[in-house]
Amino acid sequence: MAYQGNPPYEPGPPGGQPPYGGGQPPYGGGQPPYGGGQPPYGGGQPPYSGGQPPYGGPPPPYQGPQGMYGGVQTSQYSPWINRVGAYLVDAAPIIVGYFIAVVANSILAWFLIVIALVAYWIWNRCILAGQGQSLGKRVVGVRLLSEETGQPIGTLNAFLRDICHFVDSVICYVGYLFPLWDVKRQTLADKIMRTVVVPA
């Protein structure tokens, strides 16, 4: 008998569940993630409660649902291809602007478009991403969060994270491929800034 695969992913109502954890497996429909009835690797840790933080206390560190790889389940993080899609959406206005400037072929057009694109980049990649979702991430449905607090990282950290992407680029852009094999699906910039990208 052929394996029937995982149950279909059906997103819940908006705002109906916490973005991660919540004591339920993300796409499991009640099934254990792997390994039949055996406890997953790294078991023994209590699952993330997903409830409200204690009154007056800081938010609990981001742990997510427990599962494989010693308490980290890779499926809770956004796949690499989703991140690529988000980046392409973010870059689309820049590509369009570049072609407009090439067609216009004047210094004034280049100047105005460069100014507009820099402003767009700061607004999108720093301000919006600092709040959790750039335009691309919103379209694709992922969020950028701090690994430690589970909260958006803020404008300055989002700016620094974009600068840290230089580290991803400097080794023939292989740093951008790290989410393919990394447990937390982080790029090197994510590791430096301690950020994760999770489904919204």
Partner: protein
């Protein structure tokens, strides 16, 4: 009509294979794109800045060569790419079966196994870096 997306679990080699298939497709048309764009390809920032090749230098050249069946060119440019290509070829049937839902999701690896694999990959990448340094005449 409701769209139902079936999410399947894939292992790390299968993720890399998915990327490898995409890279091979791009590599097949890359020379044509470069011919129209008039570019010199994707530069390695580290080599452009310091003159020292990074451990992954030659990925693009080797991928394009492999996509056109030029194994010797690929092997003399980036042995690491050839190893990845072998893994992609070996994992592709598994990936197809997993995609079709014929086999169960991959079993998780222990942190110990993962650490061993990481060390082994680091050694291979290090050896490839030595090869690249030699290819560019630095050692």
């Amino acid at each position: 009509m409701r769209c139902v997306i079936v999410r399947r679990m894939y292992s790390v080699p299968e993720h890399i294979t998915l990327f490898g298939v995409g890279a091979a497709a791009i590599g097949a048309v890359y020379p044509m794109i470069m011919a129209h764009a008039g570019g010199q390809g994707i530069p390695c920032p580290l080599r452009a800045i310091t003159g020292v090749p990074c451990p992954f230098c030659g990925l693009t050249t080797a991928t394009v060569a492999l996509a056109h069946g030029q194994w010797s060119t690929a092997a003399t440019t980036s042995p690491l790419t050839c190893l990845v290509a072998l893994m992609v070829a070996g994992t592709a049937p598994l990936l197809a079966a997993r995609f079709a839902g014929l086999i169960a999701p991959p079993r998780p690896v222990t942190p110990r196994t993962r650490k061993r694999v990481t060390i082994a990959v680091a050694i291979v990448v290090g050896l490839n870096w030595l090869f690249e340094l030699h290819r560019y005449g630095l050692i």
